[in-house]
């Protein structure tokens, strides 16, 4: 202990404080690990919405070419001689639901217009409406998968 020193002077280099070092770093590591781990909570483990696959039975009275709006889903089914197709009613611009009209579909949000086969007639929609994967269960019942797209023009007999 040096008499001449004051407490305002830096301490002489102490022997390495391994314990303190480990303690601090482990506390720090734990805090980081905890923070990162806790942040995992915010991303949902499972989306709470109903399944994207659903069944629908077409009414027998449906005229060929007449769009059948599936109740409760943004999908329209059209049956004609070639078969049945499912077209998504989600506008490719910003996601509003388009309504069928005389020549196809129109979107109430920004005025996009689509033809009956989903192709864009008037923007701002950048892409045509999606055609959805469809499979037949027989007897006019079909399974539609909203999460799966197929090439436009694909029809399924059933």
């Amino acid at each position: 202990m040096s008499e001449a020193r004051s407490r305002l002077d830096p301490e002489p280099l102490p022997r390495r404080d391994a314990l303190g070092l480990f303690a601090r770093w482990s506390a720090f590591a734990t805090s980081i690990f905890a923070t990162l781990g806790l942040l995992k909570l915010v991303k949902p483990g499972v989306l709470p919405s109903p399944s994207k696959r659903f069944r629908v039975t077409l009414p027998e009275s449906l005229a060929p070419g007449e769009p059948f709006v599936v109740p409760g889903r943004p999908v329209v089914l059209v049956r004609d001689a070639a078969g049945v197709c499912a077209v998504s009613r989600v506008c490719t611009h910003l996601g509003c639901i388009v309504q069928p009209n005389a020549s196809g579909f129109e979107c109430p949000c920004h005025g996009s217009r689509f033809a009956a086969d989903g192709s864009v007639l008037k923007g701002p929609a950048p892409k045509p409406l999606r055609w959805l994967a469809l499979s037949s269960l027989g007897g006019g019942t079909f399974v539609i998968d909203e999460s799966a797209s197929v090439a436009p023009g694909t029809k399924v007999k059933g």
């Binding site: 202990m1 040096s2 008499e3 001449a4 020193r5 004051s6 407490r7 305002l8 002077d9 830096p10 301490e11 002489p12 303190g20 303690a23 506390a27 734990t30 905890a34 781990g37 806790l38 995992k40 909570l41 915010v42 991303k43 949902p44 483990g45 499972v46």
Partner: protein
């Protein structure tokens, strides 16, 4: 050819990271007392700490870190609570299922919910132990009287937070516990009904209606409890904590005995002051002149950075460890969905209220309002009644000391076990005299008898030791033991219809 201005610009850009670090951490490497003081003093998160702290306060036995542990539990509860709010839905039709979802599908949800529950319990336990520590070290004495009162308010808010959170899962446990709690809030009616004045003066009914927003526990109660739990009470708590910590600083830090320096022995830290002090370490010194260092020596303080920060860090991490450890070991309870048509039997309040519920089973008013009021008044008066000086800062300090505390504990235990034995074995007044007026039972019941016994014992102690502190030591110890025993009875020995059973396996199935 680069102009001087451009090369200066480039140089500044290169130096930017180092400069960023330097401007962030301006006090420099904390390796001398000045730089260490500046580290604490100049940091927005740390400057509530004193720059230097007395060696006595740093001893584990001085405070056992209980205040910090309680704070840490609150912080864990807050963080986990905010995360839970992302998924919890405070409406009767979705609350229960949202908790189930948190348990089963939310990533880390089960862990976080458990941690929340355990840290909340830890906070309640911590607050009670901290209060006991402050009492037993007589740290409520001048100048710390008001901080003791703030501490009592903090305890009340802590219990309020725990109770409001209890309802949120909306399961059978929650629903009926709150039904009981609300009826305890209504218990002044026991008195106003016997006096026949309920029609004009009904504080009981008012309390219950304010709590529940209705006459029954339902959607209104859930929203009110949710609001209290996530917003009102946490804000109140933070406000009170700010005052509480500020007061600790203003009052000169942790209470210590007048001869603390002698008790501590020589300093081994580097180095002693060789020059008289020209500066003080606290702003308050200018006004009050009461700092650790001004005009005094030998030096018995240590820099907060790193000593106090290590101590606090350790306490924080210990509390965190306890919370997460318990979280992986035991799930927070969740019973069936709340069903107003099917009462839980027994319907038990949260554990910290079970001692009161035990007393409520004898008299609703005394257990719900009477005894709690006595306790609150008693606790609140302690610093104003005990203005002695002997023993401040020492465990069980004061006339009588640890021996007195031991004796009081024994007396308290005997009294509470005795009165419980009588009440359980023989019943109480109504069983012996069915026509007894309710006011008689309100006045004379196990709760009041116990309180009277403790009070008389305490008065006897005051006379014997000629000291208020001795009486206070005795009274506090008796009530503490009484609280513990009644809580144990409520938790373990009460079954359906609040009958006494030696063990859970003896309960008749409904």
């Amino acid at each position: 050819m680069t102009s001087p201005a451009l090369s200066r610009l480039a140089e500044n850009l290169r130096a930017a990271p180092r400069r960023l670090r330097d401007t962030m951490l301006r006090s420099g490497k904390p390796d001398s007392d000045r730089t260490r003081s500046a580290f604490v003093f100049g940091n927005v998160f740390l400057h509530l700490h004193p720059a230097r702290v007395h060696r006595w306060s740093l001893r584990p036995a001085a405070t056992m870190g209980l205040g910090i542990i309680t704070l840490a539990a609150f912080l864990v509860a807050t963080v986990t609570g905010i995360l839970l709010m992302v998924y919890y839905k405070p409406y009767p039709e979705s609350a229960y299922t949202s908790i189930k979802d948190i348990h089963f599908v939310v990533p880390t949800g089960r862990f976080i919910r458990n941690a929340h529950r355990w840290s909340a319990n830890l906070m309640v336990v911590g607050v009670l132990l901290h209060m006991a520590r402050v009492f037993y070290t007589a740290a409520y004495r001048a100048p710390r009287e008001f901080n003791w009162v703030i501490g009592m308010l903090l305890m009340a808010v802590t219990l309020g937070l725990s109770f409001t959170g209890y309802l949120l899962p909306w399961d059978q446990l929650a629903y009926w516990a709150v039904t009981i709690g609300a009826n305890i809030a209504q218990s002044p009616r026991e008195v106003t009904d016997s006096l026949g004045i309920t029609r004009w003066f009904d504080p009981g009914g008012l309390q219950k209606e304010l709590l529940l927003g209705s006459d029954q526990v339902g959607a209104e109660a859930l929203i009110r409890f949710y609001l209290l739990h996530i917003m009102v009470l946490p804000l109140a708590l933070v406000l009170l904590l700010a005052v509480h910590f500020w007061r600790v600083r203003k009052d000169g830090g942790i209470a210590r005995p007048a001869d603390a320096d002698q008790r501590l022995g020589p300093v081994s830290a580097h180095p002693l002051f060789t020059q008289p002090q020209q500066k003080t370490w606290s702003l308050a010194a200018l006004v009050k002149g009461r700092t650790p260092v001004v005009g005094k020596g030998p030096e018995n303080t240590l820099p907060s950075m790193p000593h106090l920060l290590y101590a606090e860090g350790a306490a924080l991490m210990l509390a965190a460890f306890a919370s997460v450890g318990l979280a992986v070991l035991a799930d927070a309870p969740l019973k069936e969905l709340a069903n107003p048509a099917v009462p839980e039997n027994p319907a038990k309040a949260p554990w910290y209220f079970l001692g009161l519920q035990e007393l409520v089973s004898y008299s609703a008013f005394m257990g719900g309002i009477g005894i709690p009021t006595i306790v609150i008044l008693g606790l609140g008066l302690i610093p104003f009644l005990d203005r002695e000086k002997e023993g401040t800062g020492l465990w069980f300090g004061g006339p009588g000391g640890a021996r007195l505390v031991g004796t009081s504990a024994a007396f308290g235990l005997a009294a509470v076990v005795g009165i419980e034995l009588v009440a359980i074995r023989f019943g109480w007044i109504r069983e012996w005299w069915p026509g007894a007026p309710q006011l008689l039972i309100t006045a004379i019941n196990p709760g009041t008898v116990l309180a009277a016994a403790y009070g008389l014992f305490s008065a006897w102690l005051v006379r014997r030791h000629q000291s208020t502190r001795a009486g206070a030591l005795g009274l506090f110890t008796c009530f503490a033991v009484g609280f513990v025993v009644l809580t144990i009875v409520g938790v373990h020995f009460r079954g359906p219809n609040w009958q006494f059973y030696w063990s859970h396996s003896d309960w008749p199935l409904h």
